[in-house]
Symmetry: C2
């Protein structure tokens, strides 16, 4: 006779009670193992012992399916044990020294800040919004130049775009974070809205020529198409287009540029909201050379390389979740000269002084290659 | 007294023996549950029952750490059970209808294939390598055009670059996979090596002018700098530069282009290995409209959107690992008009007919939004 579903579930519940109690006993003994390891300065992660354990439990099963299942289960159980052992190490004050120094506040007065682009560009706007006006600033041609400026101490901070809400991450700047030993100390989101701007006194009906970067012209195509008689002209960047219109003082000319550029070059905004995506924003990071973080910082960016092993990506991520850390972003970039191998970038919520964070980073450092902490901000 | 490590390990071994035997008993009963479900046509995945189980086991633990640990463990145990149940369903000839049809082989003879770029470009080379020479092919200007061609049935397959080993993913083509309901049926890796090519009979000492795409010129900067008297000229793409040199038949001209372009336009290779990264390769995907996969396919690409919830990224990935599926890649792209929300793209090893894959995709479909299977190849 077919057994009743309720009876089967009762049997399962009974097994689960036993398994739960065995699990707790096992964790208790794992704690004693940890104390032994602490006394004897042995490492938490013992790969040989773990492989032996996987072999021995799988040999005790009676089907191919269960052999595979029990191995999966024990990989997880041993990972949980390890995490508890790292917590205990932490409680005993045994942990890697942090290279980062907490500060109350970032110095934002009378510091020198470098940004890529020109005055009036979105990165210029991000800088002004983040630092206010009591700074010295200058601009360079490339993002790499900005990194070099802070490397050589000519600027204290650099402002770089890292992600646009429509276009995605700025891959080059992820690579620069890897290439330079600099630290993210802040971020600033700037709405990227284009406006049509002309010289003061001009009106929409005066306009015959519109100047902008080709991408911006494309993003405002719908608006431009509604004015048949306008002639559009490509320009190297939107701020430069605004500058040209301001310098030439011709009522028939307008630029598509940011409201910041319009204001900076003294132009009048003739039409707002001409970009087809009204929510479009760019996130900028503030980078410096000193390994510091604000005591109130709540977001951490790390990156690491993984060995070519099944499950290594998942196992690395488990260190965040077992420590209750919420990952907000994961990205990968190819590793130079190692075909089809990747460096993973993870953003998660936390502060470098939290024990959960220390715990996760400690565990992670044993399992991944070239772990980097890019900053806490 | 501190207990001996050997004694502790013996205790752990004893616990593990009991746990292994309980695990096997639990799997036995789970099989009976599966038979009951098959008889009564009930679904394998019972979310309510699973959530209740997680709650009840976690209530039996005595620390926050164990509460979290036992939940992780039971998510895994229930996933293993489910996997076994899907296997049994399959043995009874009951399985969910798949939208994908397995085929023995892809049709590669007398089909029409579209690629972006020009003859002699890397995508052209990828197409020839994948399909051989018994096809009709033509090219279009943009990747989107290629997707449109197969959408409207003018071509059976399209060839698109998806990732370069140095530069990373081609973001636009990830977005096109989302925008179109097409399917990846194959991939082809092509080494992206530049050569210096001149007209037949020319030698290195004849050369005075070098034509290529600015990026290629930059990638070969070291080689170019070693020949002081050469004048470099920007060109729209490397294959077009090769074509120009071939057409003008001037011994003083050379192009930096792919070996495929050199061969296609009948040029002589004057110097190989001039690119600073000798390992540089690009991975192309072969896309079609029909939802098919080869029976021997071993790699699956999926994507999904996640709710704004703590741990949702990690939980979604757990479906791959609990089913023993090796993730080989994870990427994210912003979701249009939803600021700072992402669609995640995961590549993993497997075939759509594997029960582990069915289990993972079924579990995933309950936890993520807008799950898409982009192909099995």
């Amino acid at each position: 006779m077919m057994p009743d579903l309720q009876d089967l579930r009762k049997e399962i519940d009974a097994i689960d009670n036993q398994m739960t109690s065995l699990f707790e006993k096992r964790m208790e003994i794992a704690e004693q193992v940890a104390r032994f390891k602490i006394e004897n300065e042995k490492p938490v992660f013992d790969r040989t012992r773990e492989l032996e354990k996987l072999k021995s439990v799988s040999q005790k099963t009676h089907s191919n399916f269960n052999r595979c299942g029990i191995q999966e289960l024990y990989q997880q159980i041993m990972s949980i044990s390890r995490k508890r052992q790292y917590q205990l190490l932490q409680e005993h004050g045994i942990s890697q020294k942090s290279l980062f120094t907490p500060v109350d506040n970032l110095e934002k007065e009378n510091v020198t800040v470098v940004f890529q682009g020109v005055e009036g560009a979105y990165s210029h706007a991000a800088m002004c919004r983040f630092f206010g006006n009591s700074i010295q600033s200058y601009h360079v041609d490339t993002w790499k130049d900005a990194m070099e400026e802070i490397k050589h101490g000519r600027a204290r901070y650099a402002v770089l775009p890292i992600e646009n809400s429509t276009a995605g991450i700025v891959q080059d700047n992820y690579d620069l974070l890897t290439a330079y030993d600099h630290v993210i100390v802040g971020e600033q989101i700037i709405p990227c809205q284009h406006v049509l701007a002309g010289i003061p006194g001009s009106t929409l009906s005066d306009i015959q020529h519109v100047y902008s970067h080709p991408q911006a012209l494309m993003q405002c195509r719908e608006f431009l198409d509604s004015n048949e008689n306008w002639c559009t002209h490509d320009f190297s960047n939107t701020a430069a287009a605004a500058k040209k219109v301001a310098l030439e003082k011709d009522k028939t000319q307008a630029a598509i540029a940011s409201p910041y550029a319009a204001e900076y070059f003294g132009l009048s905004v003739l039409k707002e909201g001409i970009f087809s995506n009204p929510e479009n924003s760019t996130r900028f990071i503030i980078v410096t050379k000193d390994k510091i973080y604000q005591k109130a910082a709540h977001k951490i960016s790390v990156s690491y390389e993984l060995p070519h092993e099944s499950g290594s990506l998942y196992n690395s991520l488990s260190h965040f979740i077992y420590n209750g850390l919420n990952m907000t972003k994961i990205e990968s970039r190819p590793i130079a000269n190692r075909n089809w191998e990747y460096r993973f970038f993870v953003d998660f919520e936390g502060n470098l002084s939290d024990s959960a964070v220390k715990n996760a980073l400690c565990g992670l450092s044993f399992e991944v290659q070239n772990l980097r902490i890019h900053g806490n901000y």
